[in-house]
């Protein structure tokens, strides 16, 4: 007999349930000194106290009952998961094909109202069911590659995703690739794919959701639709991030993969282009290119993709602050790191107390680069003495490269290029902008 699912129960709660042979989803009668309660046994949050069991009452409400007060718990009916039938979809072969690679996050999900569980809904038919407009734009070919919260993704996952994109593109079947991704580190993955996949023949669009798709107010549907439309209609190839342009559900902004940052913990429009405007807005089913964008984009082509998908994770991103201990730099150098990306103050500074440690690091061959914690704007290390001294030590200024992008780029450059210092200072995937518009993006 299979071990029953503990449903997150531990300790006293789990003991009671296993003794009575009750498992999550069963209809139960719970007797306490105050009388009886009827409901369905619900799963328990892993972190919550183990002193309670949770049932869903007929009214739909969940309630927790203290284990110590329970006189008896009786199974009335076994958990019978209702089989849901996905709606039939008639695919239109004339529509452009899009490959959807899922890496985690909940771009589409289904709620089981009986247990309250939320699960990812990723078959093509489930996607069309949650975003019906998709079916009139594209024929979607979904594949689940990873199911991870994005904070758990590592450089090795970037390699996996990049290789999957290459595999899809090489079939020649797809008008574009959409990658669904958890939002926390989506900008890191976007930068990673931008460096790993050069000479892209089609657009690769990353998309996520700030409100999970089990909510009627989720931004997932509009974002997915926007990403798909951009992947189909864009004249340009490259790596992009498509997310809400504002708090309203009217436009999706498409950002350059190396120039985008998550700038808010929770807003729908958390993703913003830094120092440039987004390249396009998708509104009412159409792509509106943004004229003010000063970025030069590559057109779609029949070129062979140039894939360099390895990363070397021996890179540290260090944020300078008053009271910063220079020993940190020494420890990092001693630990075998190959590159340090400094997030300095203002135009690209750290205190003079760090000079010695930095010099030692550079001398042992660690590549030290400077970005700014100001987020917007360029570093310029010739303006003040401190900057000039740092240049003298051998710190490499990275212009207006975003520090997160710089970190990813260093990981990529270490694994794929011979002259890392030179590579860091060249713009490969629009990570350095030639000029910054006066009007704030």
């Amino acid at each position: 007999m299979a071990k029953p699912d503990s449903g997150g129960y531990r300790g006293a709660g789990l003991q009671l349930l296993s003794r009575q042979g009750v498992s999550v989803g069963d209809s139960v009668r719970v007797a306490t000194e105050d009388g009886e309660m009827f409901g369905v046994l619900m799963p328990r949050y892993e972190l919550a106290s183990d002193d309670y069991i949770v049932i869903k009452l007929k009214s739909g409400y969940n309630t927790g009952i203290q284990v110590g007060r329970i006189k008896s718990i009786t199974k009335l009916q076994k958990n019978e998961a209702a089989a849901t039938k996905a709606p039939e979809i008639i695919e239109d072969d004339r529509l452009p094909k899009i490959a959807l690679i899922s890496t985690g996050g909940t771009i589409a999900s289904k709620i089981d109202y009986r247990t309250g569980g939320v699960r990812a809904a990723l078959s093509a038919s489930e996607l069309y069911a949650s975003v019906p407009e998709l079916a009139s734009h594209a024929s979607i070919d979904p594949e689940v590659l990873l199911s991870e919260y994005s904070e758990n993704l590592k450089p090795e996952h970037w390699t996996m995703i990049a290789e999957k994109v290459v595999e899809k593109i090489r079939t020649g079947k797809y008008r574009g690739i959409v990658v669904s991704h958890g939002t926390d580190t989506m900008h890191y993955t976007a930068a990673a794919l931008s460096f790993a996949l050069q000479n892209l023949p089609v657009p690769v669009v990353l998309v996520g959701a700030q409100r999970s798709s089990d909510r009627p107010s989720s931004d997932a549907a509009l974002n997915l639709l926007g990403a798909t439309i951009f992947a189909i209609k864009s004249e340009y190839a490259g790596v992009f991030v498509a997310m809400h342009a504002g708090t309203s559900d009217d436009a999706v902004a498409c950002h350059i993969g190396t120039r985008v940052r998550k700038n808010h913990t929770s807003r729908r429009d958390a993703f913003e282009s830094i120092d440039v405007t987004p390249v396009a807005l998708v509104r009412n089913g159409a792509v509106e290119m943004q004229e003010k964008s000063m970025i030069e984009l590559a057109k779609r082509s029949d070129d062979k993709i140039d894939a360099k998908t390895k990363f070397d994770d021996r890179v540290a991103l260090l944020k300078y602050h008053p009271g910063f201990d220079p020993k940190l730099i020494e420890h990092i150098a001693a630990a075998g790191y190959k590159a340090i990306i400094l997030e300095g103050t203002g135009l690209g500074h750290v205190s003079k107390e760090c000079f010695l440690a930095l010099q030692k690091a550079v001398d042992v061959g660690v590549i030290v680069c400077m970005t700014s914690q100001c987020i917007w704007g360029r570093v310029r290390m010739t303006v003040y003495d401190t900057g000039r001294d740092l240049l003298g030590i051998g710190v490499i200024p990275l212009s207006d490269m975003i520090s997160e992008t710089a970190t990813v780029k260093a990981m990529w450059a270490l694994a794929n290029t011979k002259n890392v210092k030179k590579t860091m200072q060249e713009s490969i995937a629009n990570e350095i902008s030639s000029s910054i518009p006066i009007e704030k993006a």
Binding site: G35, S49, T63, G64, Q66, Y113, G116, A129, S130, P216
Partner: protein
């Protein structure tokens, strides 16, 4: 005709939604206050989540098919990123939770060991999230009403919805002020009795909540949903009953409507009408009606993508137009039903020919549907997609007519009738609010709240009488008014006699309201300011009602303006003395003739010029003194 509630087995269950007067909203730190203006507007679209579509729920399907745009208007201070669904909810307001627990104790209800916040799907746009956050706090318990004991089903704490400002079918506009204001929902067991006895239940519960001093007052702060059923009927939920006198009418109307529907159902059963045959034949009759001269038909035909569909209803001839009570007939129910799908054009064979549809067209429809003599038809017209939804709804409504009363949600009209609002949702669409961990409620928490349990209404009235020297009538009136808190504040701060304050805030305000003036224009701050001026002798007692009148008539926006508008000027003792001297001199002949007996006449003449400018008692005293001197001379 009057129906006997007892013989019909009338049962009425209340669900009371009471706003709480907490400092902040239920899931954020914004204040529970109305904004004067909005500083940000944004637009959203809600989508039903997938399993919403899985089950056939016509209301959700239709709402989804409309994919309406919703516009939200917000103001800093009363809404933030949480209301915009741009930030996860904060922890449940402690103050609100305590209040819900206090109510649970007051109603002898069993508090849950651990409270779980749930999401209840609502996709009409009234919640930016697409769901309402709600939690079951307690269940069971009872409320004693006169000699009756009414059972309590459940006590929930939930967030109020956004306020609908405008709905023009394309865009719905909501104001975010009210979204997230804590509400306690108390559901009572259904009770039997006469409508006015039943009303006593709602009144008693309302008074108990108010006695806690933790609830919001004023229009819209308490809302009642009423579940009404009669024998052999189904439970009909009526929303939006604001006032208790409206409630009596609503109960009477529903009793008649539901009984009327049962009468029709009995006749249909006598005829052995087969529910399975309703809508057994449906034909497009656009070409037949297209020739009609009817104005309403023309309007529909001329609109793009429109259609007319005729539904055959075997055995229903004469039943759709049958009116067991005035205005109670299936035809009217169908009219309101298609209104839900934004359609106007619905006709049935019992009312035709009429509305410019002629005998010929009726005959053509009957022929096309191959109708027998005792069959009826219903025609519905409008844009194709909506006619599709509406036809399905009409068929299911007529099938339900054979059983009698369909379970549905209706809304109360101001004149105490009810109209179809939407089908009753199936099983509650609830799932856990995973952003907020479950909240354990300990015995010690409950023990610490027992002292806050509101006293009974009688005790509260007695204590008001004792503390402020009010008579029983005035104590009850001030308690039931919207001004109890402001009364107590003023009575505690000023030397004005509490009886005077209470009578101004009850009798005088009520009398001004009866003259058609609007009490909502008179804010608590204005009231406090007026009484503060009285306390400083800046105005006279007689001025209070004059100020209230100007404010309630909206002839003034502030107390200062009202004073000016009412011509109230405070005068010095010297000026008053001169004014009295003048009146005495002007009436010297009478004074000489009548002596002290002229005092009443003189007082009247002085008041005519000094009303509101000086205190009446002071005038009286000064006048008496002067007269005394005169008489002595």
């Amino acid at each position: 005709m009057t129906l006997d509630p007892a013989s019909l087995d009338l049962k009425v269950g209340f669900e009371i939604h009471q706003q709480l007067a907490t400092k902040s909203k239920l899931f954020c730190n914004c204040g529970c206050k109305e904004a004067d203006s909005y500083d940000y507007t944004f637009m959203r679209r809600l989508r039903p989540t997938q399993s919403e579509l899985g089950a056939f729920d016509p209301a959700a399907m239709f709402e989804a098919s409309k994919m309406r745009t919703v516009e939200y208007m917000s103001a800093t201070g009363s809404s933030c990123l949480v209301e915009a669904d741009e930030e996860p909810p904060h922890d449940v307001s402690r103050e609100a939770l305590e209040t819900a627990l206090i109510f649970s104790l007051a109603l002898n209800s069993k508090v849950m060991d651990e409270i779980h916040v749930m999401r209840k799907i609502v996709i009409d746009g009234s919640n930016t999230t697409g769901f309402q956050r709600t939690m079951l706090v307690a269940s069971g318990g009872h409320l004693d009403v006169a000699s009756k004991r009414v059972g309590v089903q459940s006590i929930c704490l939930e967030e109020d919805a956004a306020k609908l400002i405008e709905d023009d079918k394309q865009v719905r506009k909501y104001d975010l002020d009210r979204l997230g204001v804590p509400l306690v929902e108390i559901a009572l067991d259904p009770v039997t009795g006469k409508p006015d006895e039943i009303m006593q239940v709602a009144l008693t519960l309302g008074r108990l909540l108010r006695a806690s001093r933790r609830v919001a007052r004023g229009l819209g702060s308490i809302r009642q949903d009423v579940n009404i059923s009669v024998q052999n009927g189904a439970v009909v939920e009526v929303k939006g009953v604001q006032q208790l006198d409206q409630l009596i009418k609503v109960i009477e109307h529903e009793m008649q409507r539901q009984h009327g529907l049962i009468v029709i159902a009995e006749k249909l059963k006598e005829r052995k009408v087969d529910a399975g045959k309703v809508g057994d034949r449906i034909e497009d009759v656009t070409d037949i009606l297209g020739k009609a001269q009817s104005k309403i038909v023309r309007q529909i035909v001329d609109a793009p993508d429109s259609t007319f569909r005729a539904i055959r209803v075997p055995g229903f001839a004469g039943m759709i137009g049958l009116e067991p009570y005035k205005d109670i007939r299936l035809g009217k129910e169908l009219g309101k039903l298609v209104g839900f799908y934004d359609l106007k054009g619905v006709f049935h064979s019992d009312e035709l020919p009429n509305y410019g549809i002629t005998e010929n067209e009726v005959a053509a429809v009957r022929e096309k549907l191959e109708m027998a003599a005792d069959d009826a038809f219903v025609i519905v017209g409008g844009p194709k997609d909506r006619v599709e939804f509406a036809s399905a709804a009409i068929i299911s409504r007529l099938k339900a007519a054979i059983a009698g009363v369909p379970a549905e949600t209706r809304s109360a009209t101001p004149d105490g009738k009810t109209v179809f609002l939407r089908p009753r949702p199936g099983a509650a669409r609830m799932y856990p609010e995973t952003d907020i961990p479950p909240i354990p409620v300990t015995e010690s928490t409950l023990a610490s709240l027992t002292d806050s349990v509101p006293r009974s209404w009688d005790e509260v009235i007695k204590s008001l009488m004792k503390k402020y020297g009010l008579n029983e009538k005035l104590a009850k009136e001030i308690f039931d008014s919207d001004y109890l808190d402001v009364f107590e504040e003023i009575a505690g701060k000023t030397k004005t006699p509490p009886t005077f304050i209470a009578s101004k805030l009850t009798e005088d305000v009520t009398s001004l309201q009866r003259q058609g003036m609007n009490a909502s224009a008179l804010t608590y701050d204005m009231i406090k300011e007026a009484f503060a001026k009285l306390d400083n002798s800046a105005i006279a007692k007689e001025s209070i009602i004059l100020i209230f009148e100007k404010l309630m008539k909206k002839q003034a926006q502030t107390v200062e303006e009202a004073i000016k508008a009412a011509g109230i000027t405070s005068i010095s003792d010297e000026e008053l003395s001169a004014m009295i001297d003048k009146v005495i001199n002007d009436n010297m002949a009478a004074v000489k003739e009548k002596g002290a007996n002229s005092l009443g006449m003189l007082m009247g003449r002085v008041m005519a010029v000094a009303r509101g400018k000086a205190d009446g008692q002071k005038i009286n005293a000064m006048l008496k003194e002067k007269m005394q001197k005169l008489v002595n001379q």
